[in-house]
């Protein structure tokens, strides 16, 4: 086909397009995946029995806010990365901010603790469960976001894949926080971060291979 014929053909059909397709696709993927992750977590892991008490405790909200704000930042950044030629811009700050805040809070907690207590503040007693659960709970959002991104137009597939991973990890850790009974910031800073970094690394690895579009 000659290029002029292609132009004529493409311009003949309905040409209007919904410019919010990117946000809609990724939003539906995140919501559906979050639903599956939450149902699995509550069905398999359960919710802490002392949730009512926990809701009044600032430490719980820090634990919740860290992954939740990261998930929001990852969503905004994924939407940008799903569009050709778009830059991360201010979303970079949103991505780094929560990590910096939680590191500072954790550092302060360690400084104010006696040297003997510090190891216990970091190690907690559910580190392995935390990392494994967050990694597994990230799967539904991760998979849904990859399916959505394949329909969109990421021109930097490694970055897009990593951000889909962070979206999955952030939502997974947010969900997991309702089950987790560790309240100390150093634990969250280390093990929540480690759990969330698993889907990020997998996403960065799979992105260039899977995020092809036409």
């Amino acid at each position: 086909m000659r290029t002029e014929e292609l132009v004529a053909m493409l311009a003949r059909g309905p040409v209007a397009a919904d410019i919010h397709t990117t946000e809609r696709c990724l939003g539906m993927a995140a919501a559906a995946g979050a639903g599956v992750a939450a149902l699995s977590a509550f069905a398999i892991l359960g919710v802490r029995p002392d949730l009512a008490w926990m809701l009044q405790h600032p430490a719980f909200w820090i634990k919740l806010a860290f992954p939740a704000t990261l998930a929001l930042a990852a969503f905004a950044a994924s939407c940008r990365m799903a569009r050709p030629g778009a830059r991360l811009g201010v979303t970079r700050v949103a991505l780094v901010g929560p990590i910096v805040v939680v590191l500072v809070v954790a550092w302060l907690a360690l400084l104010s603790a006696s040297p003997g207590e510090r190891i216990a503040l970091v190690a907690g007693h559910t580190a392995l469960e935390c990392v494994v659960s967050v990694g597994l709970l990230a799967l539904p959002v991760f998979a849904a976001a990859f399916v959505a991104l394949r329909r969109l137009a990421p021109t930097r597939p490694r970055a897009a894949g990593a951000l889909a991973g962070l979206l999955g990890g952030g939502i997974a850790a947010t969900v997991y926080a309702f089950h987790c009974d560790e309240m100390q910031a150093p634990f969250v800073a280390v093990w929540y971060s480690l759990g969330m970094s698993i889907p990020v690394l997998i996403g960065a690895t799979l992105g260039p291979r899977l995020l092809r579009w036409a």
């Binding site: 086909m1 290029t3 132009v7 040409v15 209007a16 919904d18 569009r83 030629g85 778009a86």
Partner: protein, 183 residues
């Protein structure tokens, strides 16, 4: 018809996204011209591929036209898609280069090279090819540009046939990397 600048292109695209068919036809027409000069400069040795790439990129632009953000420069968006399609094509080519013999038909190549801008673009790619090491450069020049067979190239250069194939394969990969770096 003069080529509109960033502002003109953006206006056409926004009209098109709101459902204006005539604006869309004009937009795609201008985009075609831009894509053609973009690809001719970068895959000058394969003039047939340049037009294929123009069409492929245009189809991608059409399918993903919803992905344009109105606060973003249209040209940044266009060339990001064009570049993505170029890298995709070069990657696919380098993956198949060792298996597939050249199938450039002489008629098409002759016709295309009669245009001055194609000649210029061809020189640009040749300049890039010249920067490759001999074991990559010779197989690419003889097989891909002059159209000799792998066996003829092997006889001419004294390389083994498999070295010629590997040279094409790895040379095109390297070329893709450099084309990417210079874009």
């Amino acid at each position: 018809m003069s080529t509109p600048d960033e502002v003109g292109l953006r206006a056409l695209l926004l009209l098109a996204l709101a459902g204006d068919n005539a604006a869309y036809a004009a937009f795609l027409g201008h985009v075609g011209g831009r894509l053609r000069s973009y690809y001719r400069r970068r895959v000058a040795a394969f003039p047939d591929d340049a037009e294929d790439l123009v069409q492929e990129a245009m189809l991608a632009i059409h399918n993903q036209r919803h992905s344009y953000r109105s606060e973003q420069p249209v040209t940044a968006w266009l060339y990001a898609i064009a570049r993505y399609k170029l890298i995709d094509a070069l990657r696919a080519r380098s993956a198949h280069a060792a298996v597939i013999e050249p199938l450039d038909d002489d008629e098409g190549a002759g016709m295309a090279s009669s245009e001055p801008e194609v000649d210029e673009a061809r020189r640009d790619l040749l300049a890039l090819v010249e920067t490759l090491a001999d074991r990559f450069r010779l197989p690419i020049v003889h097989v891909k540009i002059e159209g000799l067979s792998v066996a003829e190239t092997a006889r001419l250069t004294g390389m083994s046939e498999s070295a010629v194939k590997v040279g094409i394969h790895r040379g095109l990969k390297e070329l893709a990397k450099r084309a990417r770096g210079s874009s």
